[in-house]
């Protein structure tokens, strides 16, 4: 099932996508290993096992176990400093950019531990797109912003079509189709964030990570982004960090609650988390008694 989905969604990108695992002696063994993983955790795309993350001497995440399902929206909620963003940045190894950050334990993407020696973080990020907290379009034209990922990944064929599709996918095409050569910085905040989403989906990733994508936006722009996230889940696995519990309740299929100290306290269907959580601490947090 997983295998099938992969080949259909990636049919034209097969030759262009660089392999996630660089071919190395012993690649045979890795292949069988990943197959075993996939069969065991059918439908799971990202999976953490005993994941600990440290910034210098401070532990940011403690012993995280989680299985993130394919083509669903998984929300991460919790108070500030609970490590939810840190976890998100572990998935595509953005934490590599921070010198003091150290990761223990395993984090699997499609059955392959992304912290293995033979995983190229750049190849990983080509499969896992990211949208950041505040909109950060490049100071380039709208077209060049969307085309950026295609260019750096060498997918330069049919670029106009891919850019158009990505902008349509991010519900931005109608607003910008007549001014693709204007600077991305001239758009409004909400449009900029949708541009960033278009930029992320242009390269057709498997997973899209969103780090509080609506926290810098006004209510109208926020609801546009939320509608968009629901549409995106048709095709992509979406993992979204938010500090807005109503937002998590509205848009996500599954919710993970992190609490202070970097613990993952509960992870379940969103409805269950908000209506009948197992843990008293989660209930206190959700009802506003704590946090």
């Amino acid at each position: 099932m997983t295998q099938d989905n992969m080949t259909t969604s990636d049919s034209d990108a097969d030759t262009e996508n660089e392999p996630l695992v660089s071919p190395a002696p012993g690649s045979e063994a890795i292949d069988t290993d990943s197959k075993r993983r996939r069969t065991i955790h059918d439908e799971t795309v990202v999976e953490a096992r005993n994941l600990d993350v440290y910034y210098g001497d401070d532990q940011a995440l403690r012993d995280i176990d989680i299985e993130i399902p394919k083509k669903q929206v998984t929300a991460m909620i919790g108070p500030s400093g609970c490590g939810k963003s840190t976890f998100l940045r572990c998935i595509n190894r953005m934490n590599d950019l921070i010198d003091s950050c150290r990761v223990d334990g395993e984090l699997y993407f499609e059955g392959k531990n992304v912290y293995d020696e033979d995983v190229d973080s750049v190849a990983l990020r080509r499969r896992i797109g990211m949208v950041f907290q505040s909109p950060n379009p490049f100071p380039k034209s709208i077209y060049d912003n969307v085309a950026y990922g295609l260019r750096v990944q060498g997918k330069t064929q049919n670029m106009d079509e891919k850019v158009e599709n990505a902008l349509k996918g991010a519900a931005l095409w109608d607003e910008v189709k007549d001014r693709l050569d204007e600077s991305g910085l001239e758009l409004s905040g909400g449009q900029q964030q949708r541009l960033c989403i278009a930029r992320a989906i242009a390269v057709d990733p498997d997973v899209i990570l969103m780090d509080e994508p609506a926290s810098a936006l006004d209510p109208v722009a926020t609801s546009q982004i939320e509608d968009l996230i629901a549409d995106l889940a048709e095709e992509y696995t979406v993992v979204i960090v938010t500090h807005n519990m109503q937002q998590a309740a509205r848009i996500s299929d599954k919710t993970a609650v992190f609490l202070t100290g970097g613990e993952l306290v509960e992870f379940d269907e969103t409805q269950k988390i908000f209506e009948n959580p197992e843990s008293q601490r989660v209930e206190d947090y959700i009802t506003g008694k704590f946090g």
Partner: protein, 540 residues
């Protein structure tokens, strides 16, 4: 209690002396005094030197009156009007006057280089060689859109190392070459036309408009050349000045007019130019004598002489320009490269990080090392150890290049650091490698800042004298250097030589004219840096 609070209430708003502002006022006045003292001292010196250089008192008072009426009064009135409107017209006016001014300055510099240093045929061969290499690289990219790194490198090295030299020597050894002015037209004119076409095509999002603009520019370059040669001016001069001054001015005027962005500002340069022409015409026909300036056309175009009236700065001016070419070519790439390494690649912690920190501190220290010490370093490094002849252009340029290298590194580092990390994260998040991130995001964002800082560094370089004394640059040369391995003198060195001469006219008049020339070049460079900075600051 009640009465106490009552009295307090009544006087809370008044100046009863409880809150003393005296220390603050004294401090503010002292600061103002310091500022005024500094500015007025420097300004006074400049006026003194300019007075010596231009000697306005030697002119017929009616000459002053004519120019006051035709030039100063209308310009001041118009500028006052802009300021009163306060809608940014003065910015448009300054830009519209500045672009042709710098264009003319740059174009004259290029013309000087061609007259005295470069051969026209070699220039044509160079341009064709670079073009051929670019065509080879481009067509390879088109045939094989995604070459491996090694293949790509091989093609680049091959085309630069084999194709370009082959074309170069082929053209240089051609038995028949086009006339110089045709070469200028084919290189500068065509480049200006291509640039104008690209800009217009992008602005109007129409390829046809771009082609029309390119054709118009090329036709103007060619037609204007023919026209000026008919009245006895060399057509090369027209082609070069038109490309450097005319084309950018036209593009700017077009953008202001089309976007209707305060087009009133465009009147200012018109008023200035018409005022100068009208004034010149009037004093000429009415026979009012102008000032007997030390700084005149003859001073700029002739060599030094024993007679102050005939002394000029031309060889030193050429020497300074050539030296600056070496300085820029040597220090800019190395400085920017070092800054990129320190900011983007160098490790932050561990033993290596400590070394990087040490290097960083020492770059700051090197920026403060006295220039005479750099002169000594250049003498030891390039003359005694490198075996180059003392006092030649390349030794001077490399020595002063070393001197401003720390300044450029620090300026470039600041510009690179100012690129927000969110840009880098966005790029890495798209699966870009570090090299792609630097090339496509960091460098384009940091470039205006790097350029601004570097130009200020070059401004420091052009005024340096002490290192030139150390490396043995001549006090005076009578013919300008013909290449980078010729003996040279530079403007500050020549000025120093004039001050040492016993004749009063040299010590005051000729020296002052040299100082003003040097300052005009320096201030132009600084103004260019400010223009670049403002342009990009306004955009973002």
């Amino acid at each position: 209690m009640a009465t106490e609070s009552g009295t307090r209430d009544q006087s809370w708003f008044g100046d009863t002396g409880q809150i003393s502002r005296l220390p603050g006022r004294v401090f503010a006045a002292t600061c103002l005094g310091a500022t005024l003292f500094a500015i007025l001292t420097v300004f006074g010196l400049l006026v003194y030197v300019a007075n010596d250089a231009f000697r306005p008192a030697t002119a017929d008072p009616r000459w002053h009156l004519v120019f006051f009426l035709t030039l100063v009064l209308p310009s001041l009135a118009l500028f006052g009007y802009y300021v009163a409107r306060g809608d940014g017209e003065s910015w448009v006016a300054a830009t519209a006057l500045g672009i042709p001014f710098f264009g003319l300055l740059l174009g004259s510099g290029v013309l000087l280089l061609f007259i005295d240093v470069l051969s026209v045929v070699a220039w044509l061969a160079f341009v064709l060689a670079v073009l051929a290499a670019a065509v080879v690289i481009k067509s390879h990219r088109r045939i094989r859109p995604a070459p491996g790194f090694l293949e790509h490198l091989l093609v680049i090295v091959g085309s630069l190392g084999a194709v370009a030299p082959a074309v170069y020597f082929g053209v240089v050894n051609l038995p028949v070459v086009p006339t110089p002015w045709l070469i200028y037209l084919l290189t500068f004119g065509a480049a200006g036309a291509a640039l104008a076409g690209l800009v217009v095509a992008r602005r109007r999002s129409s390829d046809r408009a771009g082609l029309t603009a390119a054709a118009l520019v090329f036709a103007a370059a060619a037609g204007g050349g023919l026209a000026v040669s008919a009245v006895g001016i060399e057509p090369e001069i027209w082609v070069v000045l038109f490309t450097f001054a005319g084309v950018p001015t036209a593009l700017y005027v077009e953008s202001v007019l089309r976007e209707r962005e305060r087009p009133v500002g465009l009147l200012f340069p018109l008023v200035v130019v018409v005022g100068i022409l009208l004034g010149a015409f009037l004093v000429d026909t009415l026979g009012f004598a102008g000032p007997d300036s030390w700084l005149d056309y003859g001073f700029l175009t002739s060599a030094d002489s024993r007679f102050p009236e005939e002394a000029g700065i031309y060889p030193a001016l050429i020497g300074s320009i050539l030296m600056m070419v070496v300085v820029a070519a040597a220090s800019f790439p190395i400085g920017v490269g070092a800054a990129l390494y320190l900011e983007e690649y160098a490790p932050n912690d561990g033993a290596l990080g400590a070394i990087v920190k040490l290097v960083q501190i020492n770059i700051g220290n090197l920026a403060g090392v006295p220039s005479i010490v750099y002169g000594l370093l250049g003498l030891a490094l390039f003359v005694h150890w490198g075996g180059l002849r003392p006092g030649i252009v390349i030794v001077g340029g490399l020595t002063i290049g070393l001197l401003i290298l720390p300044i450029i590194i620090i300026a470039a580092q600041e510009a690179i650091r100012a690129v927000p990390d969110s840009m880098r994260e966005a790029s890495y998040g798209m699966g870009a490698t570090q090299w792609q991130t630097i090339r496509r995001v960091v460098l384009p964002e940091a470039l205006p800042g790097i350029l601004t800082g570097s130009i200020l560094g070059f401004g420091r370089a052009i005024g340096e004298t002490a290192p030139l004394l150390m490396i043995g640059a001549a006090a005076t040369v009578y013919t300008p250097p013909n290449g980078f391995f010729d003996l040279f003198s530079a403007m500050p060195r020549q000025i120093y030589a004039w001050v040492g001469k016993p004749a009063h006219e040299f010590q005051y008049g000729v020296m002052a004219a040299g100082v003003v020339t040097l300052l005009v070049v320096l201030l132009s460079m600084n103004a260019a840096a400010i223009l670049i900075r403002n342009k990009y600051q306004r955009r973002t």
